[in-house]
């Protein structure tokens, strides 16, 4: 089969969406782990952050892949949303979506856009700051600055609040997205079904954990 037809097909798009989602989930798990460390030990957090910030493999290979993953997932999500809208040119006068599906599953574009807006802010806060610090200002390596920078971000209650809201939306996005991605790649056998509990737990525990970390630093360290 010609590659071009495969890539244009609805199923290929769906699988691509699922795989990029699973990739982003794996990154989220790592990020969660590192952030959680900040609750227990400032030193360990500094050490890990320094490693992530200066290891060439992570900086020049993993980071661009991550950015590409986010951009791809977003663009593809948008393309699919537009295509799906055009599949129903005349809307129903009455449409009772809640009767047969969850809000989270029907509104991935909304939860996704909120998370994306948050990511924009997050990139500005940490990534742009990091780039300026390292490459524009050309500051010397300072291995213990990360913990302080993290704590400072959670000083404002407004920021901490917005941060928490974004993670609630992320939880909704994951609630549908994680199990959905398994279904998309054809994983619907016994093993796939038993993974569902893990998926739903992840969707709740990880975002709740991020919120906990934010509130912890806001209350304890500020």
């Amino acid at each position: 089969m010609a590659k071009s037809t495969l890539l244009k097909s609805s199923i290929a798009k769906k699988v691509a969406m699922a795989l990029s989602g699973i990739f982003l989930i794996s990154f989220l798990a790592l990020h969660f782990f590192i952030n959680m460390v900040s609750v227990f030990s400032a030193d360990a957090f500094n050490e890990m952050s320094h490693f992530m910030g200066y290891n060439p493999l992570i900086q020049f290979v993993m980071q661009p892949i991550l950015v590409a993953g986010v951009v791809f997932h977003f663009i593809m999500g948008f393309v699919l949303e537009l295509k799906n809208k055009s599949a129903r040119p005349i809307a129903y006068v009455k449409f009772d979506g809640g009767a047969n599906s969850t809000w989270a599953s029907r509104n991935m574009i909304i939860s996704g856009l909120v998370v994306l807006a948050f990511l924009g802010l997050h990139f500005y806060d940490f990534w742009v700051h990091e780039m300026v610090y390292k490459y524009v200002e050309g500051n010397a390596i300072e291995e213990t600055r990360y913990y302080g920078e993290l704590v400072a971000k959670f000083e404002s209650p407004v920021r901490t609040g917005l941060y928490s809201v974004a993670f609630i939306l992320l939880a909704l996005h994951l609630w549908h997205g994680f199990t959905s991605s398994l279904q998309s790649i054809g994983f619907d056998n016994k093993i796939g079904k038993s993974l569902h509990t893990i998926c739903y737990s992840f969707a709740v525990i990880v975002p709740a954990g991020f919120v906990f970390i934010a509130i912890f630093h806001h209350l304890i360290n500020n």
Partner: protein, 253 residues
């Protein structure tokens, strides 16, 4: 069982002269509807009233009126086949509604199911998907192998049979927020993919049926699961996952 009662209802129904003209919702009052009547009988009653008033009756699809042909459609009060699960519209009864209710009735809404008249839509896009690969080629030259002579394990036979229960009604497309036909196509692919007789043409089948599905303008499944809930034949999402697997392995061949 409680005795049948009569009720008065109000109906908002999509009226559209033909495929070219624009349609609109119209309101009708209907009195003395028995709670024991079926939904389609209620529409018959309304049509009688309209004929007596010298008005154009409402066009709607129906045939067997016992849940097996898949002809009856109707989006009732925001749901495919109305407020119940596991049934077609002909199996829906007026006892599900109350005196004084307003019932909204619309045709299936999908770019791939254009309205022909009033509540009737053109579902030949499903036929074209079937024609693209929803069959097995059997040699009928006199050497036909008896189907029962081919051993098939019970589980696969059951799953194929469940998939084959799809009646092509289109409720899955109608209810899907994306207008996706993947439950229908998943069922049609699965019913053959699970059987040895279907394996021979499995690669071409899934590639061709999915290509046709995409060409017809159906949307893309995002696994909301609404189709599975509204499907009158209980076709499971498993069939979509199986189609995805079949499609991926066929594409990589």
């Amino acid at each position: 069982m409680s005795a049948a009662k009569n009720m008065n209802i109000s109906l908002q129904i999509w009226r559209q002269k033909n495929s070219k003209e624009k349609g609109k919702m119209e309101t009708y009052k209907l009195n003395d509807v028995s709670t024991a009547s079926s939904f389609l009988e209620m529409l018959d009653q309304l049509n009688e009233q309209l004929v007596n008033e010298r008005k154009e009756p409402i066009a709607f699809d129906h045939d067997c009126r016992e849940g097996i042909c898949g002809m009856c459609s109707l989006y009732i009060n925001g749901r495919a086949h109305g407020p119940d699960t596991g049934i077609t519209t002909c199996q829906l009864h007026m006892r599900m509604f109350n005196d004084g209710d307003t019932i909204v009735i619309e045709p299936w809404r999908s770019a791939a199911f254009p309205v022909i008249k009033d509540l009737i839509v053109d579902r030949t896009s499903f036929d074209r998907i079937q024609q693209a690969g929803g069959f097995v080629s059997v040699n009928t030259s006199g050497n036909t192998i008896d189907a029962n002579a081919t051993p098939i394990n019970k589980q696969d036979a059951d799953k194929a049979f469940e998939a084959a229960a799809c009646i092509g009604c289109g409720a899955c497309v109608a209810t899907c927020k994306n207008g996706s036909a993947m439950l229908f196509v998943g069922a049609k692919v699965s019913q053959y993919a699970l059987l040895p007789q279907g394996r021979i043409e499995a690669t071409d089948r899934v590639l061709n049926m999915v290509r046709q599905m995409d060409e017809e303008g159906f949307g893309n499944c995002t696994n909301t699961g609404a189709c599975e809930v509204e499907c009158p034949k209980g076709i499971s999402l498993e069939n979509i996952a199986r189609m995805n697997r079949e499609y991926l392995s066929a594409s990589l061949k």
